[in-house]
Amino acid sequence: MKKRTMATSLAAHSPKLIRSVERRLFLRQGLSVGALAMLSGCNLTDDESVQQVLEGMSRWNDRAQALIFSQTRLAPEFPESAITKPFPFNAFYTEAEVTVVDGKDYKLELAGMIRDKKPWTLPELYALPQTSQITRHICVEGWSAIGKWSGVRFSDFLARIGADTTAKYIGFDCADDYSTSIDMATALHPQTLLTFRFADEILPPKYGFPMKLRIPTKLGFKNPKHIVAMTVTNEYPGGYWEDQGYNWFSGS
């Protein structure tokens, strides 16, 4: 019945009409204020309850992406002529601040649910069977670039060290204090490579010497460079960007 009164007041040319016009203006202003509040997104996004909803949706999106992800669907591979030159440098620091790892002392440390945790030296890693891929790196910022990486298939490496592949996560710690973590399904994907070469040359420091985990089914920031330790675990390891709000799964 409330509707009817409002309708009648709109119909009649009386002081009631003015009230209704005022109400309508109030409504419209209310909508504009709401829109403005949204547009000054910073404050709204910082609000704790809003942040909780957004975080919850991001976890929901992790699950949705895991469902969509197919272990057999391959990322497109490209011809040598499609390689982007120069391949862009990207990190949370500038190119002048790139970490230079000493290859002679280098050892890859293994931790967590792994049978043989013996650390690996570079000559040992280089001696493993190698494979190459020319794939597209897609950055969370939107740009993309095609590059060629070579290394050992990660699933082979996991089998070799006796990693428990029923575990949920693999976390990576890097020499430049970066960190990230991935799901086991992606780790076992045939195109996920532990790479030591870029464009047929030993990885230069700016592309992640001594090794970069190349995952063409994930966004660029999920491809850690300068890896010094990896942990197979069921406890969510998080990551440098993930802890700040970037979506954890970030598949592509």
Binding site: K3, M6, A7, T8, L10, A11, R24, L27, R28, A35, M38, L39, S40, G41, C42, L44, T45, D46, V53, L54, E55, M57, S58, W60, N61, Q65, I68, F69, S70, R73, L74, A75, P76, R136, I138, C139, V140, E141, G142, W143, S144, P216, T217, W241, Q244, G245, Y246, N247, G251, S252
Partner: protein, 206 residues
């Protein structure tokens, strides 16, 4: 239900009103957060002023964008299903000929466009509303390809893969925002259409 002395007619069904406003909210979030995502790596030689974007920084905008996309799509499925099953689309948005659209757009510019009977959309309105639906469909599919270029690689082959999808996604957004702005301008010019989209009812034109 109608009283005899006041000629109030039901214009917009409840489903249409609810989905209209949910859609308006979802689009506002998607567009303003999308602008901030665009700014992280612009594909054209301009940026969107950060002041009119949502999210505060790239990660925040991505969170908004990938949260509101579910609202947009779920709401869109309800609306389109209702529109087809109930005959709402057939009754309100068709028939539509280019001739009629051209005629009505010209009339609109002369300020003579007829929209007396709010239950009937003129040809310019029908074209605009259909164009918004079309833009949204394009936005959803190009969006899927940008979101998951590997998993939805097959869909991407219709739009120039990932890079083509980014350009199309932006163009569909621009066209949709333009039509929405015209739509809002029209509501300001014919204000009695505004309460109708809330209450669903309007006085019948005599």
């Amino acid at each position: 239900m109608e009283s005899s002395q006041t000629h109030w007619v039901s214009i917009h069904p409840l489903v249409v009103r609810i989905t209209h406003w949910v859609n308006a909210l979802a689009i506002l979030i998607m567009v303003t957060s999308g602008w901030r995502i665009y700014n992280a790596s612009p594909i054209f030689p301009f940026r969107i002023p950060n002041e009119i974007t949502l999210g505060g920084w790239l990660a925040g905008s991505l969170q908004w964008h990938f949260a509101a996309m579910w609202l947009l799509v779920a709401n869109g499925i309800v609306y389109v299903t209702y529109g087809i099953v109930s005959g709402h689309f057939r009754r309100k948005l068709f028939p539509l000929t280019p001739r009629a659209v051209w005629h009505d757009v010209r009339e609109a510019f002369r300020g003579k466009l007829a929209h007396e009977d709010l239950s009937m959309y003129n040809a310019a309105q029908r074209a605009a509303y259909l164009a918004i639906i079309f833009c949204l469909v394009v936005l959803v599919f190009t969006g899927l390809v940008i979101w998951k270029p590997v998993q939805f690689y097959a869909i991407g082959q219709f739009m120039g893969d990932y890079e083509g999808a980014r350009i199309l996604h932006f163009c569909a957004m621009a066209l949709m925002v333009f039509i929405v702005l015209v739509h809002i301008l029209m509501v300001i010019l014919v204000p009695r259409t505004f309460p109708t989209m809330i209450t669903g009812r309007a006085r019948r034109a005599s």
